[in-house]
Amino acid sequence: MSRTILVFAERRDGQLRRVAFEALGAARRLAGEDGAVHAVLAGSGVAAEDAAALQARGADVVHIADDPSLKDYAPEAYLAALGAAMDAVRPDALLLGHTGVGRDLAPRVAAAYGAGHIADVTAIEASSGDDIGFIRPLYAGKAFERRSFAPGRPWVVTVRPNNLPPAEPADAGARGGGSAQALAYAPPPLLTAVRGVLRRASGQLDLAEADVVVSGGRGVRSAAGFEPLRALADALGGAVGASRAACDAGYCDYALQIGQTGKVVTPQLYIACGISGAIQHLAGMSQSRTIIAINKDPDAPIFGVADYGIVGDLFEVVPLLTAEVLRVRSS
């Protein structure tokens, strides 16, 4: 089975996101040996090395829409760019990251092209036949479903960051390097005017893409109580998250909330500090690869999902842990 796959290679702050390579890796698998993988790069001032990076990892053709109207994220502009790529490539499937932008664009493209949409995919079961299974969480991970597309229509798939193996240079193999070309993109009349962006997240890794998440709950006791957690996250090159209890108490912003309401994260390492482990929080983090729980209460439910548990005061343990990590890292 060979297919033509289009990947939306998302950029953020002028850089290709890792999830773009993860989508590209999935596209290469879905396309099959004789299939074709196209990627669309949209933005203002798109770097040539981004196109080259995609080509080197298995994109046969990179379509570039470089226009001032794509500087900020106005949905109409990005939808027009994606539409131009859809019309040029006429793919069997469009793949995007299940990110703020990807999940904003995918449903509209699906509706516009009569396509089905399978969202937030964490694994793909690709056999040699026609049947492709897309695995995705329900209830934020309290259950999972396998979903397939009905035949005869294009597919739109959004893939969760951090779950699928990224495309590697080896995936391009002997494919001949690929090519890059300008997309026939004409800026549409813009309805959405972006009036300003307040960069609150700069300097902080995106939670969904972080390899390490250090998360605090009610036990952190105050906004200042997050400081030792931040220091540990910095030492590990990770991001800081929080439980609903900590957000509701005003210790931190809702943007950091992890759980069934809030974000679902699947990092390599999740460190829960002063989090009891309410069901709705567990749903948002229990698919992490390795989980550490630090809590004063030996009966806290969080210990039930933790690979390593420390019963103790996070204000004592976390700074010692940070120091130990820094010591090991420097030696």
């Binding site: 109409e76 904003d104 089905g116 943007a255 390599q268 210990f303 390593y308 548990g309």
Partner: protein, 266 residues
């Protein structure tokens, strides 16, 4: 006067455990609520109505139990409710959006509000597909919403529309401010507002408010699914791991050692 339509879904309470059976997710004795993100959308719709005048119509797609969610919405201040009967409707965002768009189109709302996503299926797809079908622009993940004329909102661009929505939206932690002309879809992020609880007089009044049910045949839709569930399974079980004993310093040292040697994440 604003005509506001709020898309709403009834979901499992987030504190509920989910049990997978061969027949699907076990719904016996489950507590159902309005999807928390839709609650923010509903509250915002009611606040806008209270400020600017107008009406709020809640629209859902669901089985009969979803009536309870609609009654709750009416009790907190919605004026009218419509349920698209899920009987015969496939479990697929494309088909559901098609049915909802068919119901909403004749209502010709000035503002369509919905939650960012539903906490059960978690796709965040239906509301945006409805907007595409109705040709409405959208702004997702609103943290603050103001509706007014271009002059009232201080917009300098030519006034093509009578009214605009000024939206502060969450862009993965950044806050983006966007203006868009009505009619439009705005989806609600957590933190948009603090939803109210139904009052006793509100609950009494809700009993007399119009609630109608529409079925697929009335909409003249074929409801062709684009996607289908082929399996449902529980998450891989997670066994509780090791407790690390000792003084805090010993615990920290032991943990880092285990992360290096055993978990190989350092």
């Amino acid at each position: 006067m604003l005509k506001i339509v709020v898309l709403l879904k009834q979901t499992f309470d987030t504190e509920e455990k989910i049990t997978v059976t061969p027949q699907g997710v076990d719904e016996r004795d489950a507590k159902f609520v309005i999807n928390p993100y839709d609650e923010y959308a509903l509250e915002e719709g009611i606040r806008l109505k209270e400020k600017l005048g107008g009406e709020v119509i809640v629209v859902t797609c669901g089985e009969e139990r979803a009536q309870e969610a609609l009654r709750t919405a009416l009790a907190v201040g919605a004026d009218e409710a419509v349920r698209v009967d899920a009987a015969g409707l496939p479990d697929d965002s494309f088909a559901i959006a098609e049915a909802l768009a068919a119901v909403i189109k004749p209502l010709a709302p000035d503002l369509l509000l919905a939650g960012l996503f539903a906490v059960d299926t978690g796709s965040g797809s239906v509301a945006l597909q409805v907007a595409e079908r109705l040709g409405l622009p959208h702004a997702s993940a609103a943290l603050k919403l103001t509706v007014g004329s271009a002059a009232e909102l201080g917009l300098t661009r030519p006034a093509e529309a009578q009214r605009y929505a000024l939206v502060e939206r969450d862009a993965e932690g950044d806050t983006e401010t966007v203006a868009l002309p009505l009619p439009a879809l705005v989806t609600a992020q957590q933190g948009l507002n603090e939803p109210r609880y139904p009052s006793l007089p509100g609950i009494m009044k809700a009993k007399r408010k119009p609630l109608r049910t529409v079925d697929l045949s009335e909409l003249g839709l074929s409801a062709a699914a684009r996607t289908v569930r082929t399996a449902l399974f529980p998450p891989p079980p997670r066994a509780a791991g090791k407790r690390i004993a000792g003084s805090p310093a010993e615990q920290a040292a032991e943990l880092v050692k285990l992360l290096q040697s055993e978990a190989k994440v350092l």
